[in-house]
């Protein structure tokens, strides 16, 4: 079964690269969903004799990441009338090169932080760290509010890859609480995106720059 798990890890890393390269917002949403679903399969493969609680949990994760999140995001995208492009601040080749560099750095870090023997799958740490980095890349170099939420989700995927493969025996309640939080987070962000699109007529976060210490307030101090 380990080979299958390792295949999943490879798929996750490849999905990172394709997200960094993808210019279409809809495709990005689908890729992040696919990554979430694939990652959720990990604990089912990583050991023998999977308890029924874990199966329920994995199903919940798959439902959430494979169906509910993409649906919420697509709905926000359609409602806010976002154009199709991801509009990166840096070019796609640069994004890919950064991703590859991050993977190299993550592999090096993985050798510095060896997991105890109980962990069964190789390359967990590099895959998870490079996924987190891809999330940060999406978060910082794509201008739209939706891609920022997407980045947050990819970071979350990276964390799950690490967590799910290692801690099947953690109390289920804790994982459920964490999952609930992530769900509510995306939900609240979705609502906020809706408000932003209504208030500003777009969801380009580069325009969210009125607050700060460096720029004088445009119309401040009239009273």
């Amino acid at each position: 079964m380990t080979t299958l798990a390792e295949l999943i890890i490879v798929a996750v890393i490849l999905l990172n690269l394709s997200m960094a390269a993808s210019g279409s917002l809809a495709a990005c949403i689908r890729l992040a969903a696919a990554q979430g679903v694939i990652a959720a399969l990990l604990p089912l493969l990583a050991g023998q004799g999977v308890p029924s609680g874990t199966i329920v949990f994995c199903c919940a994760v798959i439902l959430l990441k494979g169906a509910i999140f993409p649906w919420l995001l697509t709905r926000a995208r359609v409602k806010a009338k976002v154009s199709r492009d991801a509009e990166p601040v840096i070019g796609y080749p640069a994004s890919i090169i950064l991703c590859l560099a991050a993977f190299a750095a993550a592999s090096w870090l993985g050798t510095k932080l060896p997991l105890p023997e109980t962990a069964r799958v190789a390359w967990i740490v590099p895959a998870s760290l490079s996924t987190i980095f891809t999330g940060f890349l999406l978060l910082t170099t794509r201008a739209k509010a939706i891609t920022q939420v997407l980045g947050y989700l990819v970071i979350e995927n990276g964390i799950y890859i690490f967590g799910l493969a290692l801690f099947v025996e953690q109390p289920l309640m804790v994982e459920m609480a964490i999952l609930l939080d992530v769900f509510v987070a995306v939900f609240v962000m979705g609502i906020t995106i809706f408000h932003i699109s209504r208030e500003f007529d777009h969801i380009d976060t580069a325009e969210l720059s009125q607050l700060g210490d460096w720029y004088p307030k445009q119309t401040g101090g009239e009273k």
Binding site: K112, L113, L115, P116, T118, A119, I132, F136, L139, A145, Q148, V149, Y152, I155, E156, G158, I159, F162, G163, L166, F167, Q170, P171, V174, E175, A177, I178, L180, D181, V184, A185, V188, M189, T192, H195, I196, E199, F200, T205, L208, S209, Q210, L211, G212, D213, K217, T219, G220, G221, E222, K223
Partner: protein, 491 residues
């Protein structure tokens, strides 16, 4: 008792969404705040036993922060009830740009306030780091609607930044928690605080260090340590005064508690040197950032926000120095919460009187609103650490520990930035209080601060002054107990 402490605000918060009668909902807010404080006091007296392995329990550290949160919330709800009544009467014209906006429904606001209290209680009482994480994330999500009370562009921008930066920060903390789990994997430890502490020596050191870094960045973002503080001034300046007070006084402490819990584990594992250096470094960095931004500040609510960053830096520095400084840091945490909440309450009144947040537009407070002006100046003296006050004592203890621990560079930087902050804030406060008040139009009624909104700030300030003069034995017990937990790492 802990269950009640969490469930009462939880259910009343849910109920608040359904109660349409303003009077009843406001009465419920006050009642719940009162009951919560009463239960907290009962917990202080009874000191319920902690069962090993339980997810919730109150040790001195948790009790200390629970107490502060509870007291603050009572003050905030007294203020909020009047505030909501006033907001209802004449809804909003924007203070800076003059456009008209709507307010969030009061049901949502009250409901989120109460749920926010439930989440913060859960943070202070949790003994399992996974639960602690979930509770901290819940505080972020529940306070986002509070910041967006005034529905306009700037508050929306602040809410978005707050949500996103803090959520990503908290995601880093989750990663840290998993690393901590990896550190204990070989010896089969879960994230239960009690078992982590008693088996800390068997944790894998490399993983533990990585875990501390991630958790520090994660909770440090929420706590507002520089350079992760960028959401804080925006959120504090755009939200209503009550919410700013709760964010600064209670929420930042809760995030700090997250860092303290990991620091506890690290010092039990013999890594206090490693964690101490990081805490000192980022503490000084926060002090520096706050000092520079306070000097050039044009907006008085942002100034208060930067002052919070300064104090979070002081807390981090104090805990990093260890020894007697930990006691000072905890005393400072308590006094800062009370003082800063009071100052935000007063700033809300100034905003209501002058309808602007620009420092340059506010002149002659002492003539226009004398009672508010007096409180504003008292708050200034307290927050900058003028004796006698709890903040002065706390700051002094930290300085003493820094010098006696031969951290001369840190001590010098600390003193220098405190002086800069004092000068910067002194100029702003004096400018606002003194000077000629602008002549009012005939049509404009002179603003009169309501007694109900002045009272919480006055009480908080009185407490802080008292803390500087007389330290009650029970409080001393709790603070030193909490300090022992951080430095000793035992249960």
């Amino acid at each position: 008792m802990i269950t009640l402490l969490m469930l009462i605000p939880l259910f009343s918060g849910l109920a608040a969404f359904l109660i349409s009668d303003d009077g009843r909902r406001r009465a419920m807010l006050l009642a719940v705040a009162g009951i919560h404080l009463a239960l907290t006091i009962a917990a202080l007296v009874a000191r319920p036993e902690m069962v090993p392995g339980d997810w919730f329990g109150l040790d001195p550290l948790g009790l200390l922060f629970l107490g502060v949160t509870s007291v603050l919330f009572l003050g905030a709800s007294v203020y909020a009830v009047k505030y909501m009544a006033l907001e209802k009467r004449d809804p909003g014209e924007d203070s800076d740009e003059g456009f008209i906006f709507n307010n969030e429904p009061e049901t949502v606001f009250t409901g989120c306030l109460l749920l926010f209290l439930a989440a913060m209680t859960a943070v202070t009482a949790s003994r399992h780091l996974g639960i602690l994480w979930a509770a901290v994330e819940a505080t972020t999500l529940l306070s986002a609607p509070l910041i967006y009370f005034h529905r306009h562009k700037r508050s929306l921008e602040a809410t978005w930044k707050y949500l996103l930066i803090c959520s990503v920060g908290i995601a880093m903390a989750l990663m840290g928690n998993l690393f901590l789990g990896a550190a204990g994997l070989r010896s089969g430890l879960a994230l239960d605080l009690g078992s982590l502490l008693s088996n800390a020596m068997s944790l894998d050191q490399a993983w533990l260090k990585a875990a501390f870094l991630f958790l520090f960045v994660g909770y440090g973002t929420k706590m507002g340590l520089a350079p992760f503080h960028t959401w804080l001034p925006d959120a504090h300046s755009e939200s209503p005064a009550v919410v700013s007070a709760l964010l600064s006084g209670a929420l930042l402490n809760c995030a700090f508690l997250g860092i303290l819990r990991v620091a506890q584990v690290c010092s039990a594992a013999g890594l206090s040197g490693f964690t101490g250096d990081i805490l000192i470094l980022f503490g000084i960095l926060s002090l520096m950032t706050a000092a520079f931004f306070i000097l050039a500040q044009k907006d008085y609510k942002r100034m208060l926000a930067y002052s919070s960053i300064e104090h979070m830096g002081i807390l981090s520095l104090g805990v990093g120095l260890g020894g007697g400084a930990v006691y000072g840091a905890l005393l400072n945490a308590v006094s800062h919460s009370l003082t800063k909440a009071g100052l935000f309450f007063v700033s809300g009144l100034i905003l209501a009187a002058y309808k602007t947040k620009q420092i340059s537009e506010v002149k002659g407070l002492i003539r226009r609103v004398p009672r508010t002006a007096v409180l504003w100046m008292i708050g200034f003296f307290l927050i900058t650490g003028t004796p006698p006050s709890g903040i002065f004592l706390g700051k002094f203890m930290i300085l003493k520990a820094a010098v006696s621990g031969a951290h001369y560079a840190a001590a010098a930087a600390y003193l220098f930035f405190l002086a800069v902050v004092f000068a910067g804030m002194g100029r702003i406060f004096l400018d606002m209080t003194l000077g000629e008040a602008a002549v009012l139009n005939e049509a404009e009624k002179p603003f009169k601060s309501s007694r109900q909104m002045l009272l919480p700030a006055a009480c908080f300030f009185a407490c802080v002054v008292l803390l500087g003069l007389y330290m009650p034995a029970w409080l001393n017990d709790i603070i030193s107990g909490a300090g022992d937990l951080i430095t000793g790492g035992t249960i």
